[in-house]
């Protein structure tokens, strides 16, 4: 179990008027985790997140960051250690993109050289060309570009924790999808703890390692996307998930989750002459040809093997055999199979190393049960 980074312990926020924005909330966030907070407006998700960097002070309970009670830490130092990205971005209009990004480093007293290098690095990271964007002003940017700068600014001083309050909420659907995909790519590279607020369940499912579904100041369910989709805790969560939970689950799964391993189905490329005999013995119609490193070379049918034996040729399998990547989404793979009119595909991983096979049967099992067929989860 990775170490706990954030711990909320019986935290409440009651406003003077008596509104319970957050009501006795307790949870833990582990190292490297991204928790998405989702719920209808007014459910307390934004307030919960703002409690961490003390933009909102709790009226009860304690919040710990790396084991330290945040109430006892200097609020300015606390905030400089927590990246903050908001829906309306809030770029400073009189500062250039570079000045905006380098603000927290500047407040922390980094030397200019280091700030410059960091800015360049971050602009690359959020896919903005430094030469073109460094000296632009916020009003010269599109909405998506602004939020990229906002994200870069939040990451600037390399904070271990980042709060993101509906960062993609104001963007058009295409830009939003693009930034979500980049967010996932960034997350794979930077091990950060992220608290991500959204009102969009699909976004919560796509980006979160765990999802906190909130309702009237309380956490209705805090679980992995798969658990939330398969076993919603109550009708409220069920309702938040919506009708197409099967389709959503499918988008969540990777082909590696439903495929079968390729054991017993492979044949080394230098022993093709035995292929026909082996297929006949094992009762298989198809073998997958791999090289010495286990890289996928092609598929060999029984007819090809028998004919090849007669002609003595080794180069007899179809090299153009379509493949799926282990990390592909399963809906994308299904699409690929339909396009190529295949009922099965070999699955390859890094460097095209053969990992397994996926067939229509796997999909049929998945659709029938709404879950992974037994015995496969790798």
């Amino acid at each position: 179990m990775p170490p706990t980074i954030i711990r909320f312990d019986g935290v409440s926020k009651v406003y003077p008027g008596g509104t319970r924005a957050v009501d006795d909330v307790s949870f833990e966030v582990f190292d490297g985790e991204c928790i998405t907070f989702v719920g209808p407006s007014g459910c307390g998700k934004t307030t919960t997140v703002k409690l961490l960097n003390r933009l909102v002070e709790p009226t009860a309970g304690s919040i710990y960051l790396n084991g330290q009670d945040t109430a006892g830490t200097d609020v300015i130092a606390l905030r400089r250690n927590i990246g903050y990205v908001i829906q309306d971005v809030g770029l400073f209009p009189h500062m250039t993109v570079a000045q905006n990004i380098a603000l927290v480093p500047r407040l922390r007293g980094w030397p200019e050289r280091k700030r410059y290098e960091r800015t360049e690095e971050l602009l690359h990271l959020v896919s903005l060309d430094p030469a073109a964007f460094r000296n632009r002003y916020p009003h010269q940017l599109s909405g998506g570009q602004k939020q990229r700068v906002g994200v870069a600014r939040g990451l600037a001083a390399d904070p271990p924790v980042i709060l993101m309050d509906e960062p993609f909420g104001a963007l058009d659907p295409i830009t939003r999808t693009q930034l979500q995909d980049e967010f996932l790519r960034l997350r794979a590279r930077l091990k950060k703890v992220i608290l991500f607020v959204t009102h969009d369940m699909d976004e919560a499912i796509k980006l979160g390692d765990r999802i906190a579904v909130m309702r009237s100041g309380r956490i209705a369910q805090l679980d992995t996307p798969r658990k939330i989709l398969r076993e919603p805790a109550d009708p409220f969560v069920q309702n938040m998930v919506g009708r197409e939970s099967g389709i959503k689950l499918m988008k969540l799964l990777r082909i590696a989750d439903i495929m079968d391993p390729a054991e017993g189905m492979t044949i080394p490329a230098d022993s093709l002459s035995e292929a026909g005999r082996r297929m006949t013995e094992a009762g298989k119609d198809i073998l997958l040809v791999v090289d010495k490193e286990g890289r996928f070379q092609g598929a060999l049918s029984w007819e090809q093997a028998v004919r090849g034996n007669r002609s003595g040729g080794e180069d007899l399998f179809g090299r153009a055999c379509p493949t799926a990547e282990a990390g592909d989404r399963i809906d994308a793979t299904l699409e690929r199979m339909l396009k190529h009119e295949r009922i099965w595909l070999p699955v390859v991983g890094e460097e095209r190393k053969l990992q397994g096979v996926v067939t229509m049967t796997h999909f049929a099992c998945f659709f029938a049960a709404g879950e992974v067929p037994s015995g496969e989860a790798s």
Partner: protein, 211 residues
């Protein structure tokens, strides 16, 4: 053109009075700016006081200048001191209101981002609020400066000196050449300062805020 003759003959006096006039205005604007901007910033932090402070500044602004001078003379006497006090009081509305509005109108998301990133109150004021509000504050200073040039003319009546002195002397002695020799430089001064401040405003507007 006897006014021109008068002007040329008394060039030394006119220049001295013009400098005096500029001096009065400059000192008044400097003091008003410090007080007005500080008060404007203060009421952005204490918004409950905002309406009251701007209200008082508004009332001061409506008092006719001669009446205000009249009220000050029994307590402070005549000369530069009551003049400066009056000019500073008149300027407050433009300065406080512009500073307040300039800062208050900053997008709330910018405020939230600044706080959330860990800027202290002073850092946010110096690095964000004042630079962003600067064009609006400069417009307030410009209004105050132009107004002070006009009001300082009347202040000659209570012995403050300046170009008003020529005008009042001219009126008293029915010397229209003398009146014109005082009035024309005041007009030029007012229009010139207004233009100068427009240029200054433009130069001081941060590049990112120019559209």
């Amino acid at each position: 053109m006897s006014a021109i003759e008068y002007f040329i003959k008394n060039i030394g006096l006119v220049l001295k009075l013009t400098l005096e006039h500029i001096e009065i205005t400059l000192i008044a604007v400097a003091i008003s700016t410090v007080i007005g901007v500080a008060a404007g910033i203060f009421i952005t932090r204490h918004q409950r006081a905002a309406a009251a402070v701007i209200g008082v500044a508004g009332v001061l602004y409506t008092i006719p200048s001669l009446a205000l001078f009249g009220m000050l003379i029994p307590f402070i006497g005549i000369g530069l001191k009551p003049t400066l006090i009056a000019l500073v009081l008149y300027s407050q509305l433009a300065l406080i209101r512009n500073t307040y509005v300039g800062i208050i109108q900053i997008d709330p998301s910018i405020r939230e981002a600044g706080r959330g990133m860990g800027m202290s109150n002073w850092q946010f004021l110096g690095m964000v609020e004042l630079p962003v509000a600067l064009p609006v504050i400069m417009a307030g200073i410009r209004t105050a400066a132009v107004m002070n040039i006009g009001t300082a003319t009347i202040a000659a009546y209570i012995g403050a000196g300046g170009l008003g002195w020529l005008i009042f002397r001219g009126i008293a002695s029915v010397n229209s050449d003398q009146i014109i020799a005082g009035a024309v430089p005041v007009i030029i001064l007012a229009v010139g300062v207004d233009y100068l401040f427009i240029l200054l405003e433009r130069a001081l507007t941060p590049a990112g805020l120019r559209r």
